[in-house]
Symmetry: C2
């Protein structure tokens, strides 16, 4: 290649990269909508919308407004560190820098769909890294289980559609092994972790050790993350903005991905 | 400059621009936290948090979880087009492309703090444009009233701290004139508009014509936007992610700005 050609190509490359990247990115919504069918923990209050006004007012204009009630932990939501760690920060205190940034998607759906009680282990991460390079420092790590295809069927997604305390023992869905959570913290210094299942601990967990280790290290957790099949393995950005509940242990989360076109 | 030096400088320039720009941006939170003091419309239910669990469980781990109830329209929140327009789209249907992008901040705080009933007019926009250039197409327009300094004092922020139907006539706070809203739509093709006050229509409005004209054109509205004093007039990005309420007329909004460092 002649030097002049090389310089022209370089300049084309520059101009294609310096404009504000958000404008040239494709946005993928990783969030389930909240309605009566939204999946919550068997012991939690589900989402209830109350219509306050809907129709023409006496003053001649149309007006629609609602109120709603729900548990913090259901649908696509945040677990704040204080959820499982007494000294942890709450929903309103999580630095936005932890919730926005480069992300990776690790696909464990084959193993999880074959075994509802699958626990994601360190080997799953090192296998991914052999193909994709190390999980970058400060990454947001999204774990694909394939269980999104069952949403919002509670029996298929969680293992039971019963409610109340007795139903908890009947939960069967995949999760992240506590040792693998520790590895992400000590060996890779991640910013946050999200999973396509109702909880970062698997359904049969009794001591929620993965929650404990993550929250003790002030790592925010995203649960019931949607549409992970629309993501590549790496080279995308996640923006995860939770409802800013003062002192909250979690709450509704709007999470999106920005992909380079 | 020798050609080799030029190429080296070009390469340095490239590597300084191709990394995701979000990493080099400063993030400003434009959101008030939700708690019992959060300001809602006088007729609306305020935010109520119910503690479900807080403390050590029988299994030895700490566990904190809450549920909550609130109206869609209070605190820092979204008005979806269906709020005032029967055929408008709902909270879950707003294209994310309208909620993320370049933004401008127009400071009317001097006029608004001098006159609680001030209506922002077209002249205010053209004055801003003489100093800053035209409001860009597809911009998110944020209107600064200065009233954020009164938050969460209802009397100072809204004009009354009474509740119920009779209190509505006592509301005094600035808003956007319907003609100026129309001008933003027809002359400038904006993507969304936000205001540092409880409503895009001023407190004394009876027919909410600004809401009507914006929602009829499917323009999302952000109300009780916080911390506008931390923004420049232009050259920043806004990310406004509402809770994804199916069929919602609005809802809690987490809105942030990204500023070039």
């Amino acid at each position: 290649m002649r030097l002049k050609t090389f310089i022209v190509l370089l300049i084309i490359f520059i101009t294609s990269t310096i404009n504000p990247q958000i404008d040239s990115m494709r946005i993928v919504d990783l969030t389930y909508a909240f309605d009566e069918s939204t999946i919550y923990w068997p012991t939690a209050e589900g989402f209830k919308l109350k219509v306050i006004s809907k129709g023409l007012t006496d003053n001649g204009f149309y007006y629609s407004a609602n109120s709603f009630c729900c548990a913090e932990h259901g649908g696509t939501h945040l677990d704040a560190p204080i959820h499982f760690y007494e000294n942890g920060i709450s929903s309103d205190e999580i630095p936005l820098e932890n919730l926005i940034g480069k992300a990776v998607m690790i696909d464990l759906s084959e193993k999880c769909l074959n075994d509802r009680d699958y626990l994601i282990v360190v080997d799953d991460f090192t296998k991914w890294e052999r193909e994709n390079g190390n999980i970058p420092e400060n990454a947001i790590v999204l774990l694909k289980t394939g269980f999104g295809k069952y949403w919002p069927n509670r029996t298929k997604y969680m293992g039971t559609d019963e409610k109340g305390e007795d139903a908890v023992a009947k939960l069967h869905f995949p999760g992240l092994h506590p040792e693998a959570a520790g590895w992400l913290i000590t060996e890779r210094q991640i910013n946050a972790v999200g999973i396509e299942s109702p909880s970062i601990d698997y359904g049969q967990s009794q001591h929620f050790k993965t929650h404990v280790i993550l929250t003790e290290n002030n790592i925010p957790i995203f649960e019931n993350v949607a549409n992970l099949e629309m993501l590549p393995a790496k080279n995308f950005t996640v923006i995860a903005l939770p409802m800013k509940i003062k002192g909250g242990s979690g709450g509704p989360l709007r999470i999106i991905a920005l992909l380079q076109e």
